[in-house]
């Protein structure tokens, strides 16, 4: 398993633990922060865990891009990883902060977080699109045979 894939999958597991801890907190106590923490929990789970796990497994298992570059451009893969996680972490901090005490820093963080996550998603699609392909046709037989 390449390093990029391992990093995606291990980070996704960390988010799984974190999201379930937030869920446990939500189950145990209702506070003024409950509605916004519920949103944080949904996105830690669906973006941090599931989407990130899918990104890692798809980079690993989808049909290869080419023989020279089986997984496409790995540098773009690292940018996707960085943007998705930075964006999600910014959201996890800024959304509750903004909900409980609106301020300019939280507003800016939310906007940057939105841009980073959208760009990460789009870069992933751009990278994976050519790898969604059918099996190679069998090599043509030479006429002499």
């Amino acid at each position: 398993m390449p390093l990029l894939v391992r990093t995606f999958i291990k980070t996704s597991l960390a988010y799984l633990v974190l999201s379930v801890l937030v869920a446990a907190l939500l189950f145990s106590k209702t506070t003024a922060a409950t509605p916004v923490l519920t949103l944080v929990y949904y996105h830690l789970f669906m973006v941090g865990w599931l989407t990130q796990l899918v990104f890692g497994v798809a980079v690993w298992m989808f049909p290869v891009f080419s023989r020279e570059k089986p997984r496409g451009n790995e540098n773009v893969g690292w940018i996707i990883y960085g943007f998705l996680n930075l964006g999600l972490l910014m959201r996890v901090v800024s959304e509750p902060w903004h909900a409980l005490r609106p301020n300019h820093v939280a507003t800016a963080l939310m906007i940057v977080s939105a841009i980073l996550q959208v760009v990460a998603g789009w870069l992933f699609v751009w990278q994976m699109w050519p790898r969604v392909k059918g099996p190679k046709p069998p090599p043509a037989r030479s006429k002499a045979a």
């Binding site: 669906m46 599931l50 989407t51 899918v54 049909p63 959201r91 800024s94 959304e95 903004h98 609106p102 939280a106 507003t107 800016a108 939310m110 906007i111 977080s113 939105a114 841009i115 996550q117 959208v118 998603g121 789009w122 992933f124 699609v125 994976m128 699109w129 969604v132 392909k133 059918g134 099996p135």
Partner: protein, 144 residues
Amino acid sequence: MPLLSRWFVRTSLIYLCLGFLIGGALLWSRAIGHTGVIWRLLPVHVAWLLFGWMMQLAMGVAYWIMPKSAAPETAERPLTELAWASYASLNLSLLVLALSAAEGHFFGALRPASGALLGLSVLFYAAHLWPRIRAVTQAQGASR
């Protein structure tokens, strides 16, 4: 990857693009305290990402990698029409849901239709995949 899997997976990637875009727009709106018409798209954001992206991707990959045939003697995927019908009704359901976000009685009334199509889609899909879930001998391997 077989043709239908390519359709499922590519369509799921499109929903990832659109679902994230709506999510990003909603987050931006929340940040600046905007409460406009964009919030009508919240259910579309959720359905497009849960069903259009996640579920559709899983359906495409499962169609590809599950044991190909229902019985060891055959090499063809069975009931492929059902799987295609599932693809069509899933995506029709997601488009109808987006229409239902528009203002007006007519559009609002489309929501149950979207739900029914989604239900049909997963029924068709389960009926297709059910017989393919069986023990595979080593020689048969997974399907290409």
